[in-house]
Point group: C2
């Protein structure tokens, strides 16, 4: 299925829960330091139009609203309950809510799975009640919820305005921080916020699907400590990112951070590098630093995407043009090469000392004439080589720095920029060093929905996110994901037999699996006795050979003395076989030895590794990297969720830092990258067809200009799961 055509099968049940016609506030309070007070204030102040039912056995009225002694006593029909009482009370309250017909509960208390032991037991008890009574759970251990377009502000946050940024954050402080930044820069508003907390019921994938469907949300923004169902999240993200940008900050980039996350929301972080690769594969805009979240979300919300990565810089300061050039290159963006026609037009309007090579440096031309900056932006935006325009410098401050009389011209400049942004599909990103003091021209740009940033670094991260999103959207139309190969009965039987014997596949079986599905594995044979050795020698002649022991009991063949290389001719083969058998028997007298594998030595080339793991969070994932130290020491590895598209496979090869080695160094010719891409796709298709395949490790694969050869292959068989269930797939 082409993902852009994908549609979400049914409407998320969260719409009803997050836009209820009635809300019960359990633990409502008249004490201003309590959350049960804040929530009441939030609902009343923000003008919630539904019914509010404070629940508190000790009060008749709370903040002028009639209170009820229990959930059962409520007369109306609330869909949502906010539970502000301690953890121990929660399971009982959930049952009561369910009996009262309440569809969803927001549970603020901590003291559940994140503290382990008793807390985890309490969480299980709560979930049992929730399932029994059909109540969906937000949290526990959540900072709360708001839905500003429906005047539901259960956090009672001041000064947040309705807008189009939706937020799901496992950190309440992070939401507060974004809200304060937004309040301060005055541009961004919010749609829905949810703190998923421990995600004991509703997880990130559900919330993201909701934001994808929500008409008020133009950009979804997530702070994630850990996914519960990562595979599902990737699928939902794939659908949502085809429609609107999704910005994710994932914590746990280091071991220290993962430990901290685990004691905060009980999250299992998993490999950060893998998570980032998989999110990007699904079109997610991943931000690396927490102080980029709002700028990138704002920029993507307002500008959505750019066609590509070629940026034209217009600058009124050479130093800042230099800084911008460095940051653009570091972010993988390009300085657009301006056409001769464009440069001629720039020369017409600028001083002779101006530089019309990108980055354009106006060199004083605009000092008395700041609206000329808008003219320059128009000129470069009209160039086909340009995908986005980046204004760098002191626009907005000319009338402050030079002369007040420039204010009129500066405002005309701002107006021209607004007109240009309406006339072109190319995003305009503006950095001004005057942003902190918000002069009139910048306020005008703000009002018109043009983002203005206070740092070159932040601006460039926005430009990078726009370019990446544009490139992602351009390719998802072109590349469907590979479909599984048709599983062959004899190979399925081979897995079954290995399971029955309590072992993994033998190397020759793993290679058979690959070869039968079209993977390039050099011909080789298992030699079980002298006669088979003689036959092999006759067939192979003087070809230099590799010989390796075949035994389910010997995992590390080299350590056991079970490998001989560069063996030439029958006599040598005979000696090598005997040496291998002797060494292996000495290594492990009880080892059952099936024979010796004989294969031609691989040709010279670059050693790469292709691996498959079944990740507990994300399911089957393909891994690619160069062999040896590149994987082990430098961790220079690319990951993609299976199944891959052709684009995914190509981007894996392009992503690794060592790719220059694939492109030929020290006089070596470049390897056949397309052959490598075919291999990755084929492995993806095979894995998808054999559910008993738990892990796969092709190490090494030798790649050179003529293609590739799989030299060693291991397949780990899934021996834990139910065979019957598995066979149903084949």
């Amino acid at each position: 299925m082409n993902p852009i055509e994908g549609h979400l099968p049914t409407r998320s049940p969260l719409h009803d829960i997050l836009a209820p016609t009635g809300i019960a506030v359990i633990g409502a309070s008249a004490d201003p330091t309590k959350r049960g007070y804040k929530a009441m204030v939030g609902l009343i102040k923000d003008g919630y139009r539904g019914d509010i039912y404070p629940v508190n056995p000790k009060a008749d009225m709370i903040l002028g609203v009639k209170a009820w002694p229990s959930v059962t006593a409520i007369p109306g029909n609330p869909q949502l309950a906010l539970i502000c009482t301690p953890a121990a009370t929660v399971p009982g309250l959930i049952a009561e809510c369910g009996r009262r017909g309440i569809k969803g509960a927001v549970i603020l208390a901590s003291g559940f799975a994140e503290i382990g032991g008793e807390g985890a037991a309490l969480e299980r008890e709560m979930m049992a009640k929730a399932e029994a009574h059909g109540v969906r759970i937000i949290g526990p251990n959540t900072s709360g919820v708001f839905n500003l377009h429906h005047h539901i502000n259960l956090l009672a946050l001041d000064n947040v305005k309705p807008g189009d940024v939706g937020i799901i954050s496992q950190s309440g402080n992070m939401l507060l921080s974004l809200a304060l930044e937004a309040q301060h820069n005055g541009q961004v508003g919010f749609s829905t916020y949810v703190g998923p907390g421990n995600q004991s019921d509703i997880g990130f994938n559900d919330y993201l699907r909701y934001l994808g469907e929500d008409e008020h949300t133009r950009v979804a923004t997530l702070y994630v400590e850990g996914f519960r169902d990562g595979r599902k999240f990737l699928e939902v993200a794939r659908d949502v990112t085809a429609m609107k940008p999704v910005v994710v900050y994932k914590s746990g980039s280091t071991e220290q951070g993962q430990k901290a996350a685990s004691s905060h929301t009980g999250a299992l972080a998993g490999s950060y590098a893998m998570t980032v690769d998989l999110l990007r594969q699904s079109g997610v805009s991943v931000v690396q630093y927490s102080d980029e979240i709002l700028p990138v979300a704002e920029g993507l919300g307002l500008l959505q995407k750019s066609r590509g990565k070629r940026v034209a810089v217009i600058s009124d300061g050479g130093g800042q043009a230099t800084i911008a050039s460095d940051r653009l290159a570091e972010a993988g963006l390009e300085l657009a090469e301006l056409s001769e026609a464009t440069r001629a037009k720039l020369r017409e309007v600028l001083f002779p000392q101006a530089s019309t090579v990108n980055p354009v440096d106006v060199a004083g031309s605009t000092d008395a004439n700041p609206s000329l900056l808008a003219t320059c932006m128009e000129i470069v935006a009209d160039d086909d080589n340009v995908d986005s325009v980046f204004l760098v410098g002191m626009f907005g401050g000319y009338s402050i720095r030079f002369a007040e009389s420039l204010l009129g011209d500066e405002m005309r400049g701002a107006e021209a920029m607004v007109d240009l942004s309406n006339a072109t599909e190319k995003p305009l990103v503006i950095y001004s060093l005057y942003t902190p003091i918000k002069p009139p021209a910048l306020r005008r740009l703000h009002e018109a929905g043009l983002p203005v940033y206070a740092s070159i670094e932040q601006s460039v991260r926005v430009l990078a996110a726009l370019g990446e999103r544009g490139q992602y959207l351009a390719q998802i139309h072109a590349h469907a994901r590979e479909t599984p190969v048709d599983a062959r009965p004899e190979l399925t039987a081979m897995f079954r037999q290995a399971r029955a014997e309590g072992r993994d596949l033998f190397e020759y079986e793993a290679k058979q699996l690959l070869r039968d599905h079209g993977v390039e594995v050099p011909e080789e044979r298992v030699v079980r006795n002298e006669a088979e050795l003689a036959a092999a020698a006759a067939a192979l002649g003087e070809t230099p050979l590799a010989m390796k022991v075949v035994s389910k009991d010997i995992l590390h063949k080299s350590d056991a003395g079970g490998v001989r290389l560069n063996v030439v001719g029958e006599a040598a083969m005979h000696d090598a076989r005997n040496a291998i058998l002797d060494a292996c028997r000495a290594y492990d007298a009880k080892a059952e030895i099936e024979g010796v594998l004989v294969a031609p030595m691989a040709k010279k080339g670059v050693e790469v590794i292709v691996g498959v793991i079944r990740d507990p969070i994300f399911g089957p994932v393909l891994m690619f990297g160069l062999g040896g130290i590149f994987v082990e020491i430098l961790e220079d590895v690319a990951f993609r969720a299976i199944p891959l598209s052709r684009h995914d496979a190509r981007s894996m090869v392009e992503q690794i830092k060592a790719k220059r080695i694939l492109e030929g160094v020290r006089g070596e010719s470049a390897v056949d990258k397309e052959a490598l891409v075919e291999l990755l796709l084929k492995v993806s298709s095979i894995v998808a067809a054999y559910p008993d395949l738990k892990e796969l490790d092709l190490n090494p694969v030798i790649v050179n200009a003529d293609g590739y050869a799989v030299v060693d292959a291991r397949v780990i068989v899934d021996r834990d799961s139910d065979t019957t269930d598995k066979e149903a797939h084949t």
Copy 2:
């Protein structure tokens, strides 16, 4: 000389020029759009106490100050001239200034070396006049100068307050940007600013020396496109950083940025990675992003340093504690391990669900009691395992978020933090998500000189800079730089002969040089004939040997067939010698072949490279990295200016990403790092003693657990410079 005892020999002449008792403004104007107007306004408004002499042949008075028709006509005795007129007028004006006794001139005009050709010629003409007339030049192509403690504000910047941050910036916009940020956050003030422009006379090293001596400057902050005399700068930086922090942002981290810089200030950028390494070697705090410059300068200015890298985090939000943990680890900082006593004290004051493992998460304990955060900071600051304290969260906002009644307690908390900062030498760094709206408690911290940041990322960069500076200062006392070896007459003669013959050193000569000064180079001999071969065979017995051609005409020995490895026994040596001679003659019939080098094969180990270059900007520089792809593809290399200290050598080995390979991977034992350190120090000392040594390349050096062996050595001889001059050094 121990650098901390170093003192600058004489006082910088810049003190007189930058604090003059009279200033001539050449090109003073009554037109508000002209720099000659702005400068007049700046001087008058800021209350300059010296004499102001506007020079303009067309005016009698400018802004109420009597104007003079020419510099010559001025009656008084100005030390400084600000020249606002076009480039072409400058050489003549400089001569006139010199004749009038003016000591220094600030030249705003662009159109000099940065535009090449005619501009470069004009700059040379200007410099000839300046030298002839004893006028020192600031610029040309500079944004100007201010010295706020002396009320000299030639840029007429509004709203900059006197303070202790000195700035030297090749970008005027960068200064403006820092000034606006400072104005906005209200904490930082400035001492002196200079735009060095093209540095045709006074360069970064002079300005830094001035800031080092300036009593008003507590931290020197530099935006650098390129150094003119990088070696001198490193020496000055070494002296200044021993006294006060020096923060440098170096542009040109990418090729694009280097091009942009070159067209801006005519700067030659040089290798970015090398520049950063050398600056750090001299104790400079290098910042990578332009939006970190002010936070890091402010933090270092206020807090100076921390004892080490062990940070205690106190947080009121688990998500932000997680983010802080990730950033700290990424920045090479550690989460301090809190002692059991400290944790017990924390448990006494916090709720049971709080985490007292660093990062400390108060988990709601402070919601009704924010001053408890200060108590926690006191507790951890008292722990010997802690070097600095990092408060993360919403301090300052409790009275906004929870209840106004908390304001008093919050102010008490701020006061307690101020007291703690006075009582402890450990820096307190505070991140608050309320920073953008400046609540009272944060304003109090500001007033007391405690830095408060608006982003976790910025805070961590400040903590990292403090830790790095602390560690730098701790080691400069302990480690003097190595002194040169005593050059040996016979080796000096060897260089002289190579020069005379117009060649570089032969490999065996290079090895002799190293061996004679105590470097471990395996014994080897040059075999010139059959008799010498027989003698070598007798001496070496059955040792496996490497044999290599010796010829000044054959640079790439392997390509010429001039290398044979693993040669064993006299017969094989004989064959190998003939094969080498035949192949080399076939390769280049005219090559003069001196003989064949015979050496035992090196033992197994890790291949590393040690190199020396004479950089045009920084002089002799030592390079270290792992062999092959690590240097060529991954550019995983460390640089240090020669001479090195023992700390420098150690830090080089620790710096490379591949150091895990040196520490033993895949069952290999760790190499002898100390032996490697000795090698680096020895090479540094040798290079310092032989000025004719232009470049050196030890590639490979094999290192293992037993030490190292230099397997191949090349020495390039400096054939361009004057021999007589060089010999004077030896």
